[in-house]
């Protein structure tokens, strides 16, 4: 039995519920035991485990320390979800004055302890594996758990959502219908859900971190604008999920 911990940072629990899904399969439930998860078991403090799954981004010092302690207690660390891997949708506040952000939502902003930055887990510790997605694809998680139990790991494939449309035989919404779509710059893994619903991908798996540079992203943004996408929308979607990768690319060179 592999001992598993599920750790939640700044996030929505959507990815954790994919862990719940994975554990409905008896072959997984028979090889793994969840020893720590505030959602699922009555254990208040995490002990040593074989695998720790971390969901969410880091917003404050407390979470940064927590992540380091998780790293120390876990043999293998997996960052799950776009928040943990790239920052996630909460990154949309980065760049604003943190005091303005706090004041907009809280009557007493002085009690809110958050960084002005949103850090993915991968900024603070070395992780052994990442599964992006908002939420992560349950099949990617079950595939990881099955392979890990056999001593292996899924092979990393660096491709965009376009590859998934091709495999599914979906007509390209961007080329054929002129629908603005972030598929070409977005990490694959969802199965091209949005194009299969006739809408453009909105980038929730985050920006693909290979083969892209500032020039290409800017050219792509211009194309989206030509197709009628609002400039603010383009910026929000590119930054909104894969923030860290986007900002690294925009600072220059490949991420």
């Amino acid at each position: 039995m592999y001992r598993v911990a599920v750790v939640k940072l700044t996030s929505c629990s959507g990815c954790i519920n994919e862990i719940v899904y994975a554990f409905t399969f008896s072959d997984i439930a028979s090889k793994y035991r969840i020893e720590y998860s505030t959602e699922l078991v009555d254990v208040e403090e995490m002990g040593g485990v074989d695998i720790a799954f971390i969901e969410g981004s880091i917003s404050n010092k407390h979470q940064e320390e927590l992540v380091k302690s998780v790293r120390a207690k876990a043999g293998f660390v997996v960052a799950i979800g776009t928040c943990a891997v790239m920052g996630g949708v909460q990154s949309l506040r980065v760049g604003s004055d943190v005091n303005d952000v706090k004041k907009a939502v809280y009557a007493e902003p002085q009690y809110i302890e958050v960084y002005s930055d949103v850090k993915p887990v991968t900024d603070v510790i070395k992780v052994d594996f990442v599964i992006p997605g908002c939420p992560i694809n349950g099949s990617a998680l079950t595939s990881f758990l099955r392979k890990y139990a056999f001593g292996g790991l899924p092979i990393a494939i660096h491709e965009s959502v376009c590859a998934e449309c091709k495999r599914r035989g979906l007509e390209c919404v961007l080329v054929a219908r002129g629908v603005p779509c972030l598929g070409p710059v977005t990490v694959s893994g969802c199965g091209a859900i949005c194009p299969s619903f006739g809408r453009g991908c909105y980038g929730c798996y985050g920006i693909k971190h290979v083969d892209l540079n500032r020039e290409k992203l800017e050219a792509f943004s211009r194309r989206l604008a030509e197709l009628g996408m609002d400039r603010d929308d383009i910026d929000a979607l590119l930054k909104g999920y894969g923030f860290k990768v986007y900002s690294a690319i925009m600072r220059g060179g490949e991420a």
């Binding site: 939640k8 940072l9 700044t10 929505c12 629990s13 959507g14 990815c15 954790i16 519920n17 994919e18 719940v20 899904y21 409905t24 439930a29 035991r33 969840i34 505030t38 959602e39 699922l40 078991v41 009555d42 208040e44 403090e45 917003s59 404050n60 979470q63 996630g88 949708v89 909460q90 949309l92 506040r93 604003s96 952000v101 706090k102 907009a104 939502v105 809280y106 009557a107 007493e108 009690y111 809110i112 302890e113 958050v114 908002c134 939420p135 349950g138 969802c190 859900i193 949005c194 299969s196 619903f197 809408r199 909105y202 929730c204 609002d230 603010d232 929308d233 929000a236 979607l237 909104g240």
Partner: protein, 426 residues
Amino acid sequence: MKAVLTRVEGEGGILVVERGGYVENVFYEISEAPRFFEYIVVGRNAERVVDIVSRVCGLCGVSYSLVAAEAFEKCLGIEVDPEIRMLRAALHLAERVKSHVIHVFYMNLPEIAQAKSFAEFLQRNPQISRYAQDVLMWSRKAMEVFGGRFHNVVNIKIGGVYRVPDKSDVEKLEKEIATVIKAFTEFASFVLSIKPSDVVQNVKIHQVSLYSSSSEYPHLSDRVSLDGDVYSVAEFYKSISRAMQVQYSTALHYRVKGVESFVVGPFARFNQSYSKLSKEVRDFVEMYDWSPPLHSIMHSYVARIAEAYDALLTLEKYLDTFKSSAITNTSSIASTKSGAVCEYAVEAPRGILYHRYIVDIGKVKICDIITPTAQNLAAMSDIATAAIRGRKADASSIAIAKRIAISFDPCISCSVHALPVKIITA
């Protein structure tokens, strides 16, 4: 005294204020960091906001996207095709099934059946567990067909949906639903047969759920019922219920006229709208000697079972009459007037979720979201305080406070903006 909340969504804790070793007050604390959704949607196009707010909650994202879309549609005068409305309602009901089954099976059942965790329960009762998991898996499939995936669905847009599901996919769901309902009733029989006697009795507490004059069980509305008195949502959240800073702490609590706490969610819906559940569901519930009103919040699982059953029966009817010919709307919202107030409420799995936006030429200027758990926090605190005040501040008191929290099924990630708790003095 402090303890970590477990078997709830999100990261939170219990804070017990003691006096001379005895409990004086109980607070529930959110230890999770905020994500500032009300801030990050400002300046965004309303269309985008429908997708972004889904991320507030990994368990009830449909409720978020749906109520945002409905709010924008109402204030912008956009009509939604009745067939499409039914499709979105079906997606919402599938989410209700998912959320309730996850809560009852994974979080609540271990306690009422006295197991340490769902894993131990699963070992002891593999067949009952299989039934629950089969229902969960079917709700997953239904959400994938109607919405694209299990959470953060992609198929709700202002004016309708992006795509009507393929008839063949709907037929597959239809073929399975009789078996799923059978599995559900097996699981439900087991759950409803358990009657823990050591439950805390509620202090007199207000109950609030959405009101509609139709025969439909609470779903979407712009009116609420507070113990039978009907108010518009705008009025209720502006003046009847008020966010209050509480004594001893900085937690914001919603209270009726700033004083009395109230409960939202399955407990309140069941007690206020029992007659709107289908006869089959009421007969089933009564067969196990349950009837409204439920008196203890610790019996909320009865309401969740009843609601999930009712949702499955409604879905069965919907699948039977599904028409693939419905029209998806393509209306544009870019031409909105300045300063439009867009507000609406939905019965999310955990209770009323209220969204209010001020929109200027298609872009959000101001956003206010009031979540179910934020509203329930005052009641959680009051019920727990009444239950253990004067008792020794020890592990057994904490255990009661924990059980009360679990019974509410709090969604801490959703409600995080409501309550940074800092004890100021004891």
